[in-house]
Subunit: 424 residues, 2 copies
C-alpha cells in the first residue's frame, strides 16, 4: 500500500560512462517536472561522467561480483549480463521498500537491454519508460509481456542537441505525468477479476458472455493468446490479481507442442490450476497451429488445409494425431488442479475457421480431442459437452451457467474468502 | 510558432464503433490531467458508442469517400486504408492550424495502423503516444523513423477493468506531461545543426571531430545508418532542420544496391544535395553489406569474408565489382549537388572491420572505389584523399578543416543566410 507523498520519486537507470551528460540533462528535466530523481549507474567499461546516486560498483557487488572482475571478463555482453542481475536486485529492493514510483531508462542496444530487463522485473501498473534507439524493430526481447513504454529516440543518444534535448524533455514530462497516476485505488472497492483468454477467432464467445458476468459483479480482463498474451495472463495470476480464469483459447499449447509461432512456454495454464482458482477450460482455437509466412511453411504441413492470415502469419489445420497428443497434455495439466475446474467442450467447432463453410471445419478431428480428453481427464473435473459452436450464443450461456456453479460451489476458495462480493 | 496557451489540446484518434467506452474513459483522464480533448472517430464498421468531436463520416469525406461507400467495399483492410488518408488530412490540418499539441491513439492491429500512420505524418518533436496491443513485436511498420511512444497495453483494450483503466490513466498522464514540453525554444538562440550519420564501426571518427565543431558553435545530431536512421536523417533535411550534413556511413547505399538489411531507400543522400546544404561525404562502412542470420546468407556470399555480429545480423565483405557499381551510384548522386560538397577518401580503411588485423581489411578493394569515384565524380566537388584510416584522429582533423572550408565558402548558402552564427 502506497502512502501519499508530496513528491514522487523516479529512478533513472543508464550507463553513466557513455551517457553522463544525457542523464544529467534528464535529471534536471525530471526535477523541473516536479519529481525527485535517483540516478542509478549501470556502466561497466569507463568511469561515470556525471553524478550517480547509486554507483555502478554497488550494482556489481549486488550481483556477487565487482567492477574490476567484470572488466577482467573482457566480454561486454557477459559483463552486462551480470550487471543486469545486480540492477534487478537494486531496483526490486527500492520498489519493495516503496522508494520509487517510476523507472526510466535511456540508451542504445546495451542500455535498452539493461533498462528493460529491470523493468520486466516490476509488476504491471508500475510506470516504466525506455528511451531507446532500438524501439523501431522487434521489441519483444525488450518489452515481453510487460507494460513498458518504448520511446523511439530517432537520433542517437550521444551528446546533447536540439533533438536529444527534445526527446529527453518529453520523456521527463511523460514519466512525471505517469507517476501521478501510479497509485491504484486500493481503498475503494474493486470487483473480483476474471482473466479471459481469446484470439479474434473466439472473440464472439466472450462477447456473448461478458455482459452477464459483469452484471453479476465480476470484472473481465482479456488477453490475446499470441504468446506474450498467455505469458501476461500467467504473470498476473502469479501476482495474485485475478480471482478466476476462463480460457477460450488453448492454441498456445498446440504451438508449444508443435513449434508454432504463438508459444507461451511449457507452463501455460498451470498457475491458476495450482493456485486453485475457479477455472473454465474451453478448447478454442486448437483447430490450428500458427506458423510464419507461407513461404516458410515446414514441409510436413504442405498437404494440410492452410489459411493465410497476412503476409507474416499463416495457420495450419491440426490433425487427429496432434489432437490426441494435445488431449494428453491438457489432461496432465488438469491433474494439477486444486480448485473448482470445468472443461466445456463445444462439439460443433472450435473457432471461426472451424465453422460450417470454412476451410478448417472438420468435426471428426475435433471429436478425437473430445473423446480423448473425456477419457483421460482426472476425476473431479466437471466435463460438459455442449452441442454448439464455440461462438454460438447457446455455448456462451453454458459458460455463464458453469461459471456460476463453480464460483458458488462450497469448494471454491475464492468464495470462502469473497462470498460478499458475488452479487450474481 | 506556437502561442502560449493556458491549456494544451490533445487529440484522441480511435475507432469509436469498438472502443467507445475506452475512449470516453481516456477523455476523462486527460481532462483530469489538465488538458482539453478532441476526440476523432476513425471507425468504419459500426456506429460510434461514445461521443466524437470529429465524426468518422468527416474523415471519410476528407478522403473523397463516404462511410456508406467504405462499407460497400466489403473489405475492412481496404476501407481502413482510405480512412487513414482522411485521418492524416484531418490531423495535419489541425496541426497546421495549431489546434492540437499532442496526439494519442489506442487500439489493436487496426487501431494501431490508423493511429501510427497519422502520427508518422507529424514532425519530430510533436508528442505522439500509441496505446497498443501490438507494441511487443516488430514495431517498424508502425514507428518507422518517428518519435512515437509505443505503450504495450498487455491486456486487450476491450472493456474497462482495473488493468485497462490503469493503462489508460497512465497514458493520459504521460501525454499530459509530454505536451507541457512541446514548445521548442524558438525565441532563444539555436546553434546551427549538423546531421551526422554513423554506425558503431565509424563512431570513433565522430568522437574525434565532434568537440572541435561544437567549439565552433555547431550542434551535432547523430543518426545510426540502420535504414530507419538514414530515413530519419532524410526527413529532418526535408523539414529544414539541419544546416549541414556529414556522412561517415554510406553502407545504406550498398544495402540498397545489393538487397542488404539496412536499406534506407533509393533517395538516400539526395535531399541535402538538392537543398544545397554544405555536405561532406565519407565512404565509411562501404566495406560491408549487412545481411540477416548466418543461416540465411545468400549462396552468392558464401565465399566472402563474413563477420557474425550477433544471432540476427551478419556482415559480408563487399568486393571490387560492387565497389565499382557503388562509385557510379555515388557519382550520379553528386551530380545533384547544388551547394558546397566535399568527398573525403580515407585510403587506409573504411571501418573498424576494415582495419589492420581485422578480417575485412583489404586496401586493394577500397582502392577500386577510390579510383572509380575520383574518375567519375562531377567537377565542382572537392575531393581529398587522406592517407589515414577513417577512425584515425588525423582523418578527423581533415574533416574539421574541410568542413570549415566549405561552410566559410562564399558559395555556401548557409553562410549567406547565417554567417553571424558561425563563430569558428
Amino acid at each position: 500500500m502506497k502512502k501519499t507523498k508530496a513528491k514522487p520519486n523516479v529512478a533513472i537507470l543508464a550507463t553513466l560512462d557513455t551517457k553522463g551528460s544525457e542523464v544529467a540533462f534528464l535529471r534536471e528535466r525530471l526535477r523541473d517536472a516536479g519529481v525527485n530523481v535517483l540516478v542509478i549507474d549501470g556502466g561497466i567499461l569507463g568511469s561515470a561522467t556525471s553524478r550517480a546516486d547509486v554507483p555502478a560498483g554497488f550494482l556489481a557487488r549486488k550481483a556477487g561480483s565487482s567492477l574490476a572482475a567484470l572488466r577482467r571478463l573482457g566480454h561486454e555482453g557477459k559483463a552486462m549480463g551480470i550487471m543486469m542481475q545486480g540492477a534487478v536486485k537494486v531496483i526490486r529492493d527500492l520498489y519493495d521498500r516503496e522508494k520509487i514510483d517510476g523507472l526510466i531508462g535511456l540508451g542504445g542496444s546495451m542500455g535498452t537491454s539493461l533498462g528493460t530487463s529491470t523493468m520486466r522485473a516490476l509488476p504491471f501498473g508500475f510506470p516504466k519508460l525506455m528511451v531507446s534507439t532500438m524501439a523501431s524493430r522487434d521489441t519483444r526481447p525488450f518489452v515481453g509481456s510487460k507494460d513498458i513504454l518504448m520511446y523511439h529516440s530517432v537520433v542517437d543518444l550521444v551528446g546533447l542537441n536540439r533533438m536529444t534535448r527534445q526527446v529527453l524533455s518529453q520523456a521527463a514530462g511523460a514519466m512525471a505525468g505517469m507517476v501521478r497516476f501510479t497509485h491504484r485505488p486500493r481503498t475503494s472497492f474493486l470487483p473480483p477479476l476474471i482473466a479471459v483468454s481469446t484470439l479474434g477467432t473466439t472473440e464472439a464467445c466472450i462477447r456473448h458472455f461478458r455482459a452477464d458476468l459483469e452484471k453479476s459483479g465480476w470484472e473481465l480482463a482479456v488477453f490475446h493468446t499470441v504468446g506474450s498474451g498467455g505469458q501476461a495472463l500467467e504473470e498476473l495470476v502469479e501476482e495474485g490479481e485475478p480471482q478466476a480464469v476462463i480460457e477460450t483459447s488453448l492454441h498456445e499449447l498446440v504451438d508449444h507442442l508443435f513449434k508454432g509461432s504463438y508459444d507461451a512456454g511449457a507452463h501455460r495454464l498451470e498457475g491458476a490450476l495450482l493456485k486453485g482458482l475457479p477455472m473454465i477450460l474451453i478448447p478454442g482455437n486448437i483447430d490450428f497451429i500458427v506458423t510464419g509466412p507461407p513461404e516458410t511453411l515446414p514441409p510436413r504441413y504442405k498437404n494440410r488445409p492452410i489459411h493465410v492470415h497476412n503476409a507474416a502469419i499463416c495457420v495450419v489445420r491440426t490433425n487427429a494425431q496432434e489432437m490426441k497428443r494435445l488431449a494428453r497434455v491438457v489432461a496432465d495439466k488438469l491433474r494439477l488442479a486444486t480448485g473448482p475446474t470445468a472443461l466445456l467442450l463445444p462439439s460443433k467447432g472450435f473457432s471461426v475457421f472451424d465453422s460450417p463453410g470454412k476451410s478448417f471445419f472438420d468435426l471428426s478431428i475435433d471429436r478425437v480431442f473430445i473423446e480423448a480428453i473425456k477419457k483421460s481427464a482426472p476425476s473431479g473435473i466437471r466435463i460438459k459437452e455442449v452441442p454448439a459452436h464455440i461462438n454460438d450464443p447457446r455455448f456462451a450461456e453454458e459458460v455463464v451457467r458453469t461459471f456460476r456453479e463453480i464460483t458458488w460451489s462450497p469448494f471454491s476458495k475464492v468464495l470462502n474468502k469473497k462470498r460478499g462480493t458475488l452479487a450474481g
